[in-house]
Amino acid sequence: MSGPPLLEIRDLRVVFRTVSGDAPAVDGLSIVLEAGEALGLVGESGCGKSVTALSILGLTPRPAGRVVDGSSIRLRGEELLRAGPERMREVRGGEIGIVFQEPMTSLNPVLRVGDQVAEAVRAHLPVGRAALPGRVMELLETVGLPDAEQIARAWPHQLSGGMRQRVLIAIALAGDPDLLIADEATSALDVTVQATILELLDRLRRDRSMALLLITHDLAVAARMTDRIAVMYGGHIVEEGDTRSVLDRPAHPYTAGLLNSIPDPARRGVRLEAIPGSVPGIGSWPGGCTFHPRCSRSFARCEAESPPLLVGPATRAACWLLETDE
């Protein structure tokens, strides 16, 4: 890989302002994504993954949220956190596309679908008025919508959830981005529709040699779609490595716990283990290793110090166990 990585996030910290002070939502997150790669960012709700996605595009909800100094988000070496509003607008949609979780409410209800796609195209590509409709049809067909002409003329409320999500994917791709972020893009859809959308994302990624940042709480989804996985807990990464390694030989107790709590027909009759306790809310993360209160293997050091990512047998994990040669 020559040159800087496509996306490099280093030590990202995002806090939200509340009456009782600043509450951290993302606390020292670092990931690297190369061009054409598919990275899964896996974590339960409340761990800060969606905030991460928004921060990449400079869409952190203001004035409540703000990115703390010292964070770095680089796109091919360019520091996005210091980019001006003009440049960010170019990036949004033009170099990084994003699909959100709620297809039912993410389309403007009073504009026709085709207009909303066309708008995204025109924002980034010099397509003339005459060529625009054709381009829109192309995009709609690419995302697997038959009868693109009718769909383009339709209003959002006339489409099903799955169709709307495809439209939103088309919008995200309209500017020909190099990176597509899918933030829980299938979580609000029916199971059968989920599979088709995931397939679509996979195909699109390969056809366009696009990088994919797949944000999800579902390890199974990440397993299918990604080259590498980064597990997130308490606002930062607790384990990362290539997908196979993370799934087969997880080094962090949290990852192991997540894997154990997935129902598996092969292990029928074996009791499903849930991770004791519940995910701490924003602002109430414990000191030291954020996972230690729920960890069956924690010891004194875990409560005192927060571990950095340490090299493990097949992956890297933020766990003191790796230093005690367990």
């Binding site: 509003p85 607008r89 949004r92 949609g93 959100f100 709620e102 009073v110 924002a123 980034h124 409320h157």
Partner: protein
Amino acid sequence: MGLGRALVAGSGVETLIRYVGSRLLQAIPLLIGVVTLVFVILHLAPGDPTAIWFNPSIPPEVLERMRESMGLDRPLYEQYLHWLKSFLTGDFGYSYSQFRPVSEVIGDALPNTLLLGGVCLIVVFGIGMAVGAWQAVRRHSAADSMLTFVTLFLYSMPGFWLGLMLILAASTWLGWLGLPVSGMTSVDHSLLGPLDRISDIAGHLVLPTIALGLGSAAGVTRYVRGEMLEVLGQDYMRTARAKGLTERTVILRHALRNALLPVVSLLGLYLPLLFGGALVIEVVFSWPGMGRLMYDAVLARDYPLVLAASFLFAVLVIAGNLLADVLYALVDPRVRHA
């Protein structure tokens, strides 16, 4: 905007016509209800309801014969049917304080009220939408807080009092503006050329419009601000920004269009307020409209005129609501397919 497309685009037109048709059908029982209500009120009033139709100075024998000829000694339900028929056909009887058929009298006054109301409506909604949307975008700024207070103040003000204060101001320290404080036309109106006539009426419109509209404008502003704030928090706004559109496009094309839609339905709410307010404002400013007509009629105990005016006000509100519904269907695609 969506209007042209809506009218041309295929399936849109039929559903629109069907929608308008159903709304019209719904308005008919409402009209009948209105006439019935007026009838009921009349007959609940103390005294002989039939006597109200006649000038009390008429000698009793003539009265008796007139009563017979008008069918006022028939049973109640027959009277009601007769009443219903005459009201729905525009026959409101005779005004004995103006010595003309009521329909004529109202016909003269109605356009003036519509003029005042119409101009006021444009001002109210024009200001309201602009200021309200602007406030929402500039939320938490000093201007927003100040405007919030100002709109609250205006919204709590009696319209007629504002009118009186305006007259006071225009007659004293703002006298140099030369704003007329009463009537619709100047004394020499008929001698003026057509262009001057228009500006004459326009000048007379200024103060009454402000008095009538400022309170409602404040109300619309508050409402639009709320709607806009809600729209700004919607998911599709996030999508719009993620597309890389300019902030201006995001606000104008995505936010405003959604926020201003419900404002049309606000019209239905404000019409009765506007007409009721017009009544008092017309009295304050001696504007020759239906409101002042009704007021004079009450003082003169000219009941046919009072009841007819009451009915007509309701008709205006119903018609206005109908228009608002149609307008809403035109601009919001979701309504037509419901």
